[in-house]
Every structure is written in C-alpha cells, then in structure tokens.
Symmetry: C2
Subunit: 293 residues, 2 copies
C-alpha cells in the first residue's frame, strides 16, 4: 500500500446499490480505504452515490474503474458475474484482490473458473447475510452489516493474505466473518433465504390472481405484512439467485412441497393431532431462533 | 344500563389472553364499562389479569362469570365456541349482547345455531384484524386495535341495537369497523392470514427436519425472521382456525400449490422470463400494499 494511513489505497465497487453502497460507506467510515471508485450501469445512481459521498468518483466502464485498484468488490446480481469478470481480466493489477457479495457461491466460483481458467488465488468469494427489501444507493447505510454474519467460502488455493484482507474489511464494517464450503453455503442459504423468497413471491402472485384481490390486500394485517415483505425484493436479483442456485433450491422446494402435501392431508381429514404436533414443533424451533437472535 | 356514567354496566370476557385482555384494557381506558369479569381455564393467567387491572374479578365457571353481564366477549380459540355457548345458554340475561373475536365466522355462527336452535338476534359475530405472535394476558395492551380493522359479520336477523353497541365498543378501542358477509370473511381471511400461517408453520417444520438444521437457523437473517415470525403463534389457536375454516383454506392452498408447481417448472427449465415476470408482478402488488398500509 502506498499510503501508510490507509489499509487500501483504491477500492473499486462494481454495483453501487444496497450492498455495494453500504460496504463502501462502512469501510470508508472505518478509515480503511483512501479512494473508492464506483462502477455500474445506471449513471444517475452513480452520480447520486458521489453526491452522498459513498464513492469518490466513478466510471461506467469496468476496465477503467478497476485500473490500479487494490481491492475490487463485485456487488452486482450473480447472473452478471461472468461478464463482469471478463472485463476485469487484463484490466486490473495482477495482485488485485477480488471479492464479492453474491448470494450464491458455487455459481460465482464457476464463473471465475470459466473466465480465468482457474479461480485466481486472490479471489475470495463472500456473502454478507444482511439486506433489506430496498435497492439502490439511496437505500444503503453504513451499519447494514453491524452484528451480521458474512460467510466467506475460500478454496484450497485461495491466498491467506487475500482472505485476511477481505476478513479485515468485513470486520471493520461491523460483521462477524465465518468460513464455509461453497456447496454447503448454497444449501444452507437455499433454505434460509432463497426458498422463503420464492414462497413469498409465489403467494403474493397467487393472491393477485384472485377475485377478492382488493379486499384481500385491504384486510391484511401485520402477519401478512411481515410474511410477504421479501416479495418486495428486486426481481432481477432474485431471478439470478434462483437460477444460480437452482439445484439446491429445487431440492429444498421439493422437500417443502412434500411436507405441505402431508399437512394438506391432515387438514382435509381434520386430523387435529397431526396439525397441533406440527404447529407445536414449528413454534418451538421458531421460539428458539427468536431467543438466539 | 343502571349506571348513567357507563355505557355498559358489566362486561364479561371469556378468554383473557392477547385479544380478550387488549379489548378489556381498551374499553376500560375509554371509560365505557363499569365492571369487567374475566373467565378462563388458567387460574394463574386470570389472577395476573386482576393484578394488571385488566379485569376486576374472575370466575372459572362460565355460568357464574356471565351472570348479570350486559355484554359477553368470547375470545377463546374458535374450537371451544360450542362448549362456551352451551354454558352461557340459560345462565346469562335474556337480552345479553354476545360478541366474539374469533378468526373464522361461519364456524362460529354454526356453533351458535347448534346451541340456540337459531342465531340469537343479540349475537354479533366479529373479528379484529390485529394480533401479535404472543399469547396470554401479559401480551395484551390497550392500543392493539388502534387503526386496525374489525370485521363484523351480522346476519339478517341480527339486532341493530346489538350491532350498534358492539360497533361503539370497537370504535372506542380505536378500531375501524367494517361489515362483511360471513362466508366472504372466511374466504378473505383464509388468503391473508390462515394460508400464510400454514405456510410459515410448514416451512419452519420442514427446516427442523434437515441435517443442516442448526446452521440454517444460525445463518438466517431478517428476511427469514419476518417470513417465519407467525410460526411462533399459538398452536392450539391455529389448529382450531385451520379446522374451522377448512374449506376456504384448502381452496386457497390448492390454488397456491398449483401456482407453485408452475413456478417450479419455470425454475427447472431455467425460464428466466417467467421467473422475472412473476417476481415483478408480486413485487408490484406488495409495493402497492406497502404504500397503502
């Protein structure tokens, strides 16, 4: 690093939205980074990001944006990773550290393999377990990752120095860093995040097709509001996540559907005992979760 | 009314939990009721309710509790209604107004018919669209119904005076009263409340059966927390609601399952266009709902 006061001389954020913007705000606030360059498709969003002091400058051209970067953080929808990495290749410094905030990890690693031939040692795949249903730089804030987990999924060939630098950045952003095997990450996240999003989108979509649609939404209360909040999430991002984690998501979806069919049978047969046992088991797990979180 | 300062001389609350307790607190605060008697199965909860000044006294015997009551509010799980009404019959004054907070209305009306031969004119079926996932009198609070809807489902034979009194009580509790046909109420609520609860219970239950159970709950974030919050609801109450509103719930569940199967096919075929169209439609509806609520 040329500047002794800063850990990182130049950080480039590709995709300055909720995650990219919040990461920029957090590491800047922590005093770790001298200069932050943004990159993205929407000029208006990038200009807003400069106004909000989230980034110092921007370029819409990836090759220009990553020039001389010490660290590149990719925070675009996972479906765009291959195209992004192809632009980075050859344009960034040889020893640049690349990390990301993608919600799936196997697909991201495959993209890196296909672009670079093998996953570069300085590429550290990551996923912050934090977010809101809002998007864009205006939705970003510097405490988004406070007390949240960030899962890093390094490979055997990943450089320890690169892993340490990325860990340090996330810890400076207030996050707890844990390590996980990439396939395992995708299986766990399919259950806790991807399947719930799919179900929420699907339920709201079903309700919009009913005759009573307007009355349904007019008479919905807090339970419905919370249950369906994630159906307000960004469709592009979620289309990408679902496709990128298709196998794990289908596996959990099928498991869920089979269990739901059993519950349907219990309901149809007015089997109070089975319903109560199932509801009680679910409540116990959910109450445990509340106590720990 | 014998006491000119109060609209109601004696109110009896059967089931002094979240809903019954909050109703008692709200109408007492509004100065509408002189005396509130509680009734319920758990003595400890009733004693707590007296200590908290939610009720003035209690009897665990329904016949004793409803003696001389001007208004009876039934806030027990809907599966108990028939047994409760059988106790009230003959023990309460002839002109007593009976209302309830049950989450289903057709089943409640059927219970009244079966006990009284026909639905008494002074029986006003009702359902406050408010609640939390917590239960018991300690979870109750006097503003629970503030700015929430209460749906009353009077029949053709329902007395206008009884309807007016019940309306006045709910309005004093801060609620907006709307009228609805009972079957229609059950269909709407199956969609906005009963189906989401069933899905949340079912998902959490499925996750508890997975090998990665502990990691799943350890790595869940805000989206999961909100989506599954209602899985912490009272199993007894929800067993009752599901059974009492079985037909409407099965109809919506089947509709949901069919749509989910289509979504599964789109996912399996990596049909990005269908996924995006569905997610976009859901997001638009959910965003509309946010703007209005």
């Amino acid at each position: 690093m040329t500047n002794p006061g800063f850990k990182i001389n130049k950080l480039t954020i590709i995709g300055v939205g909720l995650i990219g913007g919040s990461f920029a705000r957090a590491v800047r606030k922590a005093g770790l980074v001298k200069h932050i360059t943004g990159c993205g498709r929407q000029k208006e969003n990038l200009e807003k990001a400069v106004q909000l002091d989230v980034i110092d400058d921007y370029s819409q051209d990836i090759k220009t944006a990553v020039k001389d970067a010490d660290v590149i953080f990719i925070a675009t929808p996972v479906g765009s990773f291959k195209a992004v990495l192809e632009q980075i290749k050859g344009a960034a410094k040889d020893n640049v550290i690349i990390t990301d905030g993608g919600s799936t990890k196997v697909s991201v690693i495959r993209s890196a393999e296909s672009v670079f031939g093998q996953v570069p040692p300085n590429f550290v795949p990551g996923h912050p377990i934090a977010g809101t249903e809002n998007s864009g730089v205006e939705a970003s804030f510097d405490t988004l990752f406070n007390d949240h987990r960030v899962i890093l999924t390094p490979l055997a060939e990943t450089s320890k120095d690169a892993l340490n630098t990325v860990t340090e950045l996330w810890q400076a952003a207030g996050a707890e860093v844990i390590l996980m095997e990439p396939h395992h990450h995708d299986m766990v996240l399919a259950a806790t995040s991807h399947l719930p999003h799919l179900l929420a989108f699907s339920l709201v979509n079903t309700l919009t097709t009913l005759d009573e649609k307007q009355e349904i939404f007019d008479n919905a209360a807090g339970g419905f509001r919370d249950f369906t909040r994630i159906a307000s999430s960004d469709p592009d991002m979620w289309q990408d996540i679902c496709l990128a984690n298709k196998e794990a998501l289908l596996e959990h979806l099928d498991h869920f559907t089979q269990d739901l069919a059993k519950l349907r049978t219990a309901l149809e047969q007015s089997d109070a005992q089975t319903l109560k046992a199932l509801f009680t088991r679910a409540k116990q797990s959910r109450d445990d979760f509340t106590r720990k979180n």
